[in-house]
Subunit: 264 residues, 2 copies
């Protein structure tokens, strides 16, 4: 049975309130195009696109944009050779790229958080899901133990930690992607009585400086930044499994890209 | 001779075009207050404030805001105990805090970049100063060697690197603070024919993803993120030295705060 790009997109957003403004789009690609195979990934890096083509996939579903910008600003990229080479590859390959960002975050629970909690085997510790965060009550662990657990389960080489590694914690807030900023994370510490926030990334002068002051005041507060991709890739991994279950005749693969940074 | 807060502030902004909108302000504090001693620092963390008081200083000059927010949004902090304790300390101490951000960046060359280049002993390699970046032509070094040099000169425990450590580079762009985002850094790679950008911080899905694609395409591009405070604190250190030279009768100290993050 033939499945189109549009049918996949409809199945991913079914039941969700339509958004007036969204970064989600099929670009390039046409909704009537028949799906031969699907790849999901955090972002459509050139390495991911090449691996998708090698697997015979013609639809890539990513969480972040193709061209290094949340709002797809391409004015930065005028005459840019990296952009032009990537753009040529995409155009000549005929691959479709569906950015599935806003609607995935609007699944309940948030599809990205759901993937992360599944990867961490922490679903059973959820106390409550908020729209942009999930609150967990973990068995008592020290911050350093949690950091080691996160690295092992997510297979990531490092995390950035604000606070004391020896601090015991139980009440944990999880905020994926760029939600580690002060506007979300700082009030959450107080309202949800958190010991620890685990986030993707956020401005360094906001939540990390708050935690520094809190620790200096003798309070039990800590922050672990996983990295943006590291916090959201598990959501795209889970998505591949869900699509594979839903469309058993389609080849569906999740591609884990290399981390953007190494620590020196 | 008595010097007031206002006289110090005037001397720091003399000759600069007044800005219509600026985050720079003396808050708390009164321009007529007599300066007994000055401390400069990246931010007025509680640890910095306590050290300043212990030194007898009554004017703290910082680059970032007191309350974890560039625009001083305090709605995040309603009923927040960390905020309230810090606020009480500041109010009861009578210390003045002058945020010197926008005008310091408008010095020519940018006062923050000037301090960083001085700390790195790289002033002699400057090819050109742009308004938000400086372009250097360094003696040929590999990215890994530059990373090691940065850590040693700035006394910082780690940097985050995108790209290959073995890549040789000479053309380097330096962007401090949050200027590592795609809007500034990506066009700069092309326009200034850079091999390497050294920045404070920026969104992980922008410049780092661009560099990942560029490297995948076989191009010589790399990015080193120093950390926001790590890239800007040397500017505040240089400022303390300049103030000490200008006001020899005033005690002036730079305070190096602890890094917000440790790597685990």
């Amino acid at each position: 049975m033939s499945i189109s790009f549009g049918q996949i997109m409809e199945s991913l957003t079914v039941g969700l309130e339509p958004l007036e403004h969204t970064v989600d789009q099929l670009e390039p690609g046409h909704v009537d195009c028949e799906v031969r195979g699907i790849v999901t990934a955090f972002s459509a890096s050139q390495a991911v696109i090449e691996q998708a083509l090698a697997k015979g996939a013609n639809l890539i579903i990513t969480h972040e944009g193709v061209y290094f910008s949340h709002q797809d600003h391409r004015d930065w990229l005028e005459d840019d050779p990296v952009f032009e080479q990537k753009n040529s590859l995409i155009a000549s390959s005929g691959v479709g790229i569906y950015r599935f960002h806003d609607y995935l975050h609007r699944h309940r629970p948030d599809g990205v958080i759901k993937g992360l909690l599944r990867e961490l085997e922490w679903e059973g510790y959820v106390a409550e899901h908020h729209s942009a965060a999930s609150i967990l009550t973990l068995p008592a662990m020290e911050v350093g133990e949690i950091a080691a657990y996160l690295k092992q389960k997510l297979q990531i080489p490092y995390v950035r930690v604000a606070g004391k590694l020896s601090m015991p914690c139980q009440r944990v807030g999880i905020l994926v992607g760029y939600r580690g900023g002060g506007g979300l994370a700082i009030p959450l510490f107080r309202k949800a009585q958190l010991d620890l926030v685990i986030a993707g990334e956020g401005p360094e002068w906001e939540t990390p400086e708050y935690v520094k002051d809190a620790v200096h005041q003798g309070r039990n507060k800590a922050l672990i930044m996983l990295g943006h991709a590291e916090s959201e890739a598990p959501g795209m991994k889970l998505l591949a499994e869900e699509l594979a279950g839903q469309y058993p005749d389609l080849p569906v693969h999740f591609i884990a890209d290399h981390p953007v940074f190494q620590i020196v």
